[in-house]
């Protein structure tokens, strides 16, 4: 094998630009965690099944374990670290998850919130059944999902209010 090819890439993460030289085989998840040192993006299964690594690339929720860092060159990536509007304030999604105990260990939470950012922007008033489908690609081993759905419904209401 011909050793490891490297490439220079420039990725915007939560609004700030990161220029790095990376191995072409590096996944976006590992780029975020090891090169950018933002460890809020979690890595569970590394084959697309658990949803823990979900981030937004150009506004779309994707599995960062199934994308190469080189494929994010020139793109905007949003991770959980960029969600809160400021040091002391939580995003409505974060607040709703806190209020409803929508997380216990928190391993699945960043991926769930990233998914909901895209989903709720497009579906501001989802039913409980629709939310269950929207979150079917995010596995949680703690909560039993009930509180996640309750938090998501409440977050949807808060976001509608904020927009009105």
């Amino acid at each position: 094998m011909q050793g490891s090819e490297r490439r220079a890439i420039s990725v915007s993460v939560n609004g700030s630009r990161h220029d790095r030289e990376v191995e072409v085989r590096l996944t976006l998840a590992d780029f975020l965690r090891h090169a950018v040192e933002l460890t809020g993006t979690h890595v569970g299964c590394e084959h697309g099944v658990c949803g823990a690594c979900t981030v937004l690339v150009d506004g779309l929720a994707v599995r960062s374990c199934l994308m190469l860092a080189v494929q994010a060159d020139g793109r905007e990536v949003a991770t959980i670290e960029g969600l809160a509007p400021g040091e002391d304030a939580l995003h409505p999604l974060q607040q709703a998850f806190k209020d409803h105990h929508g997380l216990q260990c928190g391993f699945c939470t960043p991926g769930i919130l990233a998914t909901l950012v895209e989903y709720l922007a497009e579906n501001p008033e989802p039913s409980e059944a629709e939310l269950k489908v929207a979150l079917s690609g995010n596995i949680c081993r703690c909560t039993g999902y009930r509180d996640i759905i309750a938090a998501a419904l409440d977050a949807a209401a808060r976001l509608r209010e904020a927009r009105a």
Binding site: V24, R25, G48, G137
Partner: protein
């Protein structure tokens, strides 16, 4: 789990891509990565070269000219799901996509990737069979069109040559107001179907069935076309009883068995999914008339 080392190529034109694929040894095409990246991470595949199709121009589109609809191989499943053109012309495609993986996988996964991966349970494979799609592939010798009935050669083996790329999938739309139904059973939403069924029905002016298409997915390595049932449906008045009676023999079809799902269970599901898909299609076609 990390992908093994490989050389990465991101060509911008189809001509460049065909040349790369034809000259590089042990190269793999990368589309949405929703099947290939897991296989790389788990090191089930060890390519020396990865040719990324994501920057190749002209491979992502949904276009119609008359009843002919052309979908570029690199069109994301999510864009197909939301396409107004498909909702009008080929509504069974968005209906089936609601069952394909999850929001996050459909944002990346492509139609060309799904057909090329050719999982026996892939919803798009079942639907392309029912719609009698044509797959256009490009290679060193130019392009050729493969009728979908000849596209799956066997278990996860498409008719695409090793030096060929799927560029487009071409469909002839059914008449406006036709009925369509997609039914599947999976253990969780977003899982590959254990057995799925795609049905299309066009009614005649007298309310009887004019034309029918019915295909099962997941039963065998390649889609199961139910030609005998299609023929028997023509000229009949649609009813639940008719569908149940005609689909009953599906329980005797050949079926795959594996550690999780024995063949007997797939055979049990076959008539159930087939009649559900037909009933949905008939309901939609009837509603379109009224």
């Amino acid at each position: 789990m990390k992908p093994p080392p490989f050389r990465y190529h991101d060509p911008r034109t189809l001509a460049e891509t065909v040349t790369l694929l034809g000259t590089l040894e042990n190269a793999k095409l990368l589309a949405g990565g929703q099947s290939l990246m897991p296989m790389l991470n788990m090191r089930f595949v060890l390519p020396d070269h990865l040719i990324d199709l994501n920057k190749v121009a002209g491979l992502a589109h949904v276009e119609a000219e008359g009843r002919t609809v052309r979908i570029g191989a690199m069109t994301r499943q999510r864009d197909l799901e939301r396409s107004a053109l498909l909702a009008a012309k080929l509504p069974i495609i968005p209906a089936a996509l609601a069952h394909v993986g999850h929001l996050q996988t459909r944002n990346r996964g492509t139609i060309g990737g799904s057909l090329s991966h050719l999982d026996p349970s892939a919803e798009l494979v079942t639907v392309c069979a029912a719609l009698d799609a044509t797959v256009t592939v490009a290679g060193p010798g130019g392009t050729r069109a493969i009728p979908f009935s000849e596209f799956p050669l066997g278990y996860m083996t498409p008719a695409t040559g090793l030096d060929e790329i799927v560029t487009e999938i071409v469909f002839e739309a059914w008449p406006a107001g036709h009925g369509f139904g997609f039914a599947e059973y999976a253990r969780r939403h977003g899982d590959f179907a254990i057995v799925s069924a795609a049905a299309l029905l066009a009614f005649r002016d007298d309310g009887r069935i004019g034309r029918a298409a019915l295909v099962l997915g997941g039963l065998e390595p390649v889609p199961t076309r139910l030609s005998a049932i299609e023929a028997a449906l023509a000229g009949e008045t649609p009813s639940e009883e008719l569908f149940a009676e005609l689909c009953r023999p599906c329980a005797e079809l050949e079926a795959m068995g594996d550690a999780l799902v024995p063949a007997s269970y797939r055979r049990h599901l076959a008539p159930v999914m087939a009649r559900r898909a037909l009933a949905r299609a008939a309901g939609i076609a009837a509603a379109a008339i009224h």
